[in-house]
Symmetry: C2
Subunit: 219 residues, 2 copies
């Protein structure tokens, strides 16, 4: 049993977690400071001892999301044996991430569609850019390694990759079962990889890779 008096840093951490949890069950834009306080068993006023405004809370939340998601996909990519395998691993770890935190896509959609440029939106935007950069890099590596067609439109492939996840998540959120995203993932990424010219969409692109393997450039 722990004290109800926490350090400022820990309280901020708990606040972020409370928001992420709440976003899993309700529309982020309807999350009030009262609801956040209630979720973490604290009075409303206490929140403002640790954040100057609600906007600052959202910024912290989006930074949490950005850090965790990028860390996840970076680790997934590192553990992969080839650029194409890395793309596959990024995709699956992203799906796992939103299954663990169903509030995340809701928050991302909510922030990104905002018209004004809030700090939280800026963080979300930066996250998207970093994400797209990583995809572009892997796509280029895959081209160089002969894993995908080298006339692939990198920009378009990155957009489609992100859209693929969005579509999958939204579809399964609508079905009321985020976990369903995992089951549908295989079919979707199969079409995607075939679209890139990666064999029949699975990782048996090896043959094609071998023929070009001398070109081990990675950039």
């Amino acid at each position: 049993m722990q004290s109800k008096y926490l350090s400022a840093e820990e309280r901020r951490q708990r606040t972020v977690e409370a928001v992420v949890a709440l976003a899993g069950t309700q529309n982020p834009s309807e999350i009030t400071t009262a609801a956040i306080a209630s979720e973490m068993s604290v009075t409303q006023g206490a929140l403002f001892r640790h954040f100057p405004s609600k906007e600052a809370i959202w910024q912290a939340v989006m930074e949490w999301v950005a850090d965790r998601l990028l860390d996840r996909i970076d680790r997934a990519a590192e553990q992969s044996g080839s650029p194409l395998a890395a793309l596959h691993a990024i995709f699956m770890s992203h799906i796992d991430f939103v299954i663990e935190h169903p509030g995340v896509p809701r928050m991302m959609f909510g922030e990104l569609q905002r018209a004004e440029t809030t700090p939280a939106k800026k963080v979300a935007h930066t996250l998207m850019k970093r994400y797209a950069e990583r995809l572009a890099q892997k796509l280029e590596e895959a081209k160089a390694g002969g894993e995908i067609r080298d006339d692939t439109d990198t920009q378009a492939a990155a957009i489609l990759f992100i859209g693929m996840i969005q579509g999958l998540v939204m579809q399964s959120m609508l079905a009321g079962n985020i976990r369903a995203a995992r089951a549908s993932a295989r079919g979707v990424i199969g079409i995607y990889f075939r679209g890139l010219g990666a064999g029949d969409g699975r990782r048996d692109m090896q043959a094609r890779k071998e023929t070009k393997q001398s070109k081990k450039k990675v950039e």
Copy 2:
């Protein structure tokens, strides 16, 4: 110069248009009845002579979106010479639709991510289902006609199609220029069609189609 006293029906129509216009420049969940009234040069109270609640306004708006979008894609599909061409036409007319009405994707995202089941969300959900049905039908026809691989996962292909549009729209909204979606469309759909096994992703799938043309089944 027209009167400021309109028939109830026309006033409702104007209300819907005002909301659609506002959603083009701001977060839909932040659109207040005061803002709607102001947009259509009417006092706030006047709105409630025509709608029993704000929720009813949103329902009317989503019905407007559903009717217009489905009508658009149906007409686009009808004018196409083959199922694959129809899919292409649906895609482009959808992109054109959101360029004309930039508020639409914002409203769709906003409604669909809502946790409670509001009437407006139900309408949006139904729209998605109808849309997916039409895609599935065209995909099956394309399989039967030999335009795409007949081992294509229809469900996955439909999800990816919708995600493709979502990704394109979100990306160009972030870039602050919805019209950019049109320019990026070609590359994205190219990868998609290749993923379905449709030649190199353009409409030069004709050759393959001809070889199977005896099988004119359309179901």
